[in-house]
Symmetry: none
Subunit: 248 residues, 2 copies
């Protein structure tokens, strides 16, 4: 099953429709679909919300609305509240990265809530009291107050990364064998000689420099072929040059 | 020293002032101060930028403006471009988490750039070509397009988290700047033309292959000098050859 389907994002009394929309977009980026809003404000600019949600209209329209936080999280096992401040019982806070495996463990069987407070005042102490976990997002001591959608985004992102839904792309081409690399280096040595780039005494030194450059990352078979083609062509040009000279 | 001081956030032709402001706030949350904007749009809503930057007015006001990406990153060693799309040479992309220790290693002595494209079109291929690294932010396959400030935030966040535990290793040879690398690539392009290694249509493709090879590991100043010397010599040989032919 998709663990992320059991993650619920809960916004408590959000002030700006634009932020609600940005949170929906962030949920969409991280494969999260369940949005709950506690005590939505009558003046909320829903047009702004739709605009900023980009292609996450579905999440926005499917949102559930509740009168209180207690109702919004009633069906959840874990309830993680975010807080920038210290004090209260925030000194037991986890980072979102620390919380992610705990959340996913629970999400295999139950709903897990991530709760975000008002843009200006965050979550009140009685709301934090409803939370089984307090999350503190790592940030500079000089400015700990995150934009609401940034906070929701990064918590979703940590869950998404942990859920291992993402498979980073890797170099697809086959790695070159030592034998192929050595053939390539031989051709480069030949190029340096034929183009009279270096004299005999400095040749080995120069080859070590080139080996160091090319061996820092892994070379693929196509890479070696490019490099061999280039060397071959320079050798050919050098030979043409010599022939032309001897014809003079 | 504070490694994060050597991180430069580069926004290329951002469309919305609000996003620029949100990026500043995100930088502030992650202890990053250096902002560069490439080709700022005359219609930019700077009031909106100021409003959304919250307490990051200083970062916003201290921004540097450049006409081109090449100028904005000329003094940087590593240049990491973000891209949501696949294809081109994006198949070698790193996640921001994978890139963080690489960036901090370099940031102990040099400037490192994180580059973000336009909200609608991202970075163009010729801009990605200037990047030593391509970053792909883990996201749901169903919707990979991140809000600009979310993308900048999460890259800054990964650096901030990594900086907490990172200890740079001892220094060796000096790393090459973007400007020096680009001079080297220009000379290699010239070599490929002069030695008739590739035809015009395949030249860009071949250059991308070479960029990929050389950017896998970091290039030092002596490395670049070797590579430039080699190219210069091949061009010289090719010219001698042509001269000799015309004398026939």
């Amino acid at each position: 099953m998709n663990l992320l389907e059991n993650i619920r994002i809960v916004l408590v009394e959000p002030m700006h429709g634009g932020n609600i929309g940005s949170v929906c977009r962030a949920m969409n980026n991280n494969g999260i679909t369940d949005l709950a809003i506690v005590a939505p404000r009558p003046e909320t600019d829903w047009d702004d919300a739709r605009k900023l949600s980009c292609q996450a209209h579905a999440q926005l329209e499917a949102r559930k609305e509740y009168a209180s936080l207690a109702e919004a999280v009633a069906g959840c096992t874990l309830v993680a509240g975010t807080s920038a401040r210290t004090g209260f019982y925030r000194d037991t806070a986890l980072t979102p990265r620390e919380f992610a495996p705990i959340a996913l463990e629970s999400a295999s069987t139950h709903k897990v809530a991530l709760v975000f407070g008002r843009e200006d005042k965050g979550l009140y102490n009685e709301e934090l009291a409803l939370c089984s976990h307090i999350l503190q997002i790592p940030s500079s001591e000089l400015y700990t107050s995150l934009n609401l959608s940034h906070a929701a985004y990064v918590c979703g992102y940590e869950l998404f990364c942990a859920a291992d839904v993402f498979h980073p792309s890797e170099e697809k081409a086959d790695e070159a064998s030592s034998a192929l690399r050595e053939r390539m280096f031989d051709m480069w040595r030949e190029m340096m000689v034929q183009t009279e780039f270096v004299h005999d005494q400095k040749l080995d030194h120069m080859m070590m420099g080139l080996r160091r450059i090319f061996n820092r990352g892994k070379l693929t078979i196509p890479d070696c072929k490019i490099l061999m083609g280039l060397a071959k062509q320079s050798v050919w040009v050098a030979n043409q040059w010599r022939k032309a000279q001897s014809n003079d």
